[in-house]
């Protein structure tokens, strides 16, 4: 800390120098000066530490333990070995992957198509349709699952009835292992991806009109403009939506517990439902913690891959 002798420079200059000079480097002085900032942060920090940070760390610790009420024992990788050796986990992973691989692309692409169609309309129609597609998103999945369970009813369900119009025979959608998972996938596909539609609409609004103008002068059709201008420019939104819905779809749970309970057999078992069962029906905390860490890692890997793939060819 080199102090500039006061007398050495004219008064005005000192003031300039004071501003230029780095603020006091003493970290404790800085903290003291800003104590109110810490006070503002304090409530969130306490809650965050107690109910998020500690549990996250604890989950990793637990996954290496055999949990006992009085004194858990270190178990090394036992829980992880059990996870990967168990048939149930493999099935749950397979089901979850199938669910994700079908519903995420379908959801994002249909959101893009619907948003594009809406965007071509006038203001009033825009907001009307936007609401129609977003409304189902605000209702709880519990409700949606309940009504779909009713619609999938073998005898009196709406779904079989409508299929009957096309000459398709009644199917016991949720009752047999061959169709149960597909029933859940179809349902997910038919629930509009409201968040996606709204975000696409917002992003489309920010695309410059001059680009389309130029394309039109070059004689490009609306479809070509959509393909070569709209879609490429929406890429950041697409990336975000793919990530968002992949993360959500890996955590599919409410439909499962409300509609099939993972059955028949383990036909609709998913990762989170398995974690729920392991932890809170069988009370195998260590194992459940290991399963959840594996889920986290899977989601992380998927996110990184998607990020890379969708970012790369920009």
């Amino acid at each position: 800390m080199t102090q500039i002798p006061m007398g050495a420079v004219p008064k005005k200059e000192t003031e300039k120098l004071k501003v230029l000079k780095k603020p006091n480097n003493n970290i404790f002085l800085q903290m003291k000066k800003n104590y109110s900032a810490y006070l503002f942060l304090l409530p969130k920090l306490i809650l965050f530490t107690l109910f998020i940070a500690v549990p996250v760390v604890w989950a990793f610790v637990l996954s290496f333990q055999e949990y006992k009420v009085f004194g858990s024992e270190f178990a090394g990788f036992d829980n992880y070995i059990k996870v990967f050796e168990s048939e149930a986990f493999r099935i749950a992973l397979k089901n979850t992957l199938l669910f994700t691989v079908v519903t995420v692309p379908f959801g994002v692409i249909s959101a893009l198509v619907i948003a594009s169609l809406i965007y071509a309309l006038g203001k009033v129609s825009q907001s009307l349709f936007r609401s129609a597609f977003y409304l189902p998103t605000v209702t709880s999945m519990v409700i949606i699952a309940m009504v779909w369970r009713w619609m999938y009813n073998y005898e009196f369900g709406l779904f079989n009835y409508v299929l009957g119009w096309f000459g398709i025979e009644q199917i016991n959608w949720l009752g047999q292992s061959t169709s149960a998972l597909w029933a859940l996938i179809i349902m997910q596909c038919l629930i509009p991806f409201g968040v996606g539609i709204i975000m696409y609409l917002a992003s489309m609004g920010s695309i410059s009109h001059s680009l389309y103008e130029a394309a039109r002068i070059d004689g490009a059709s609306s479809f070509k403009q959509w393909l070569h201008i709209t879609i490429p420019l929406l890429k950041p939104t697409t990336l975000y939506l793919v990530l968002l819905s992949t993360i959500g779809s890996f955590q599919v749970f409410t439909q499962i517990i409300m509609m099939t309970g993972g059955g028949p057999g383990s036909a609709t078992e998913t990762l989170v439902h398995l974690i729920y069962k392991t932890g809170f029906r069988d009370f195998e905390f260590g194992l459940a913690a290991a399963q959840s860490v594996v889920l986290f890692v899977i989601i992380l890997i998927f996110s990184i891959i998607q990020f890379r793939v969708l970012r790369h060819d920009e």
Partner: protein, 323 residues
Amino acid sequence: MMKKQNNKFNKVIIYVLLSIFAVVSLLPLYWVFSTSLQLSSYQSQDMERPVSYVDANPPKMYPMGIPLYFEHWGEARDAAKAGDSEQEAYHRGMMEHIVDNTFSSYKSLFQKHDVGKWFFNSVYISVLVTFGILLIDSMAGYVLAKKKFPGRNLIFWIIISTMMIPGQVTLVPLFIMVGNLGLMDTHWALILPDLSMVFGVFLMRQFMYSIPDELLEAARMDGAGEWRTFWTVVLPLAKPGLAALGIFTFMSVWNSFLWPIIVLNSAELYTLPVGLKTLQDANLASFKLLMSGAAVAAIPMIIVFILFQRYFVKGLTLGGVKE
């Protein structure tokens, strides 16, 4: 000329397509309300047994009480004209029965089941958490955006990085913790973890950036303390952000399900989604009753959505991609 016609034709196709999609999208919600109001027991003079239109094959696409009510109304009027008071009374009685039966499941939800209590629980927990989050997260977001202090970036990145971790990871430790704290089967077990959600910190910090420093400076010049500045200058300016955050918090708390079914055991403490699950699990309930329960849970979110629609859009685009 040709072009214009073509354009119009395109528009029509777009409207048709979107309308079909919209019907598919809204059909389940419609079906909730339609089933909940469906006539579950009806016997006219020429019927041997009462029929239920809830379990009908083919399904009835709208509450049958509506056409039947008007049918009986017309017959009652005709009977009155013809001076047949017996027939008139019969038809008036049927009209009453139809109204009663149409709303019967809503009545029994609140009388025989705890739905009133569950509704109250859901409302007060959602409202409490929403206001708590608004205060706590705007305070945190404000200093993270506008103050420079040691550790600021570190704290922010630690908080944000946990957004990547799926909630299921913390289930088991939280369960053990809540048990140790003696909070199992209490509403605190829901409220405290909900108040810790970090999304709002991120959202509010983004939003607070747009508040001009000059205004904060001016408030300080006027001698306002940190708290006064926050309360009288920052919060009013952050209103749109607060509205968006408030709606999303309310929605996620109102709809939260996995954690509540783990920690709540007593029927009188249930929130609506948990109660609906037990109602369905009991297997005694008819689909009419279940759909009425679903409707009761859906209506508040639908109202909130209609009232605050523009903030939904704002919140989504604010919290998402920043550009």
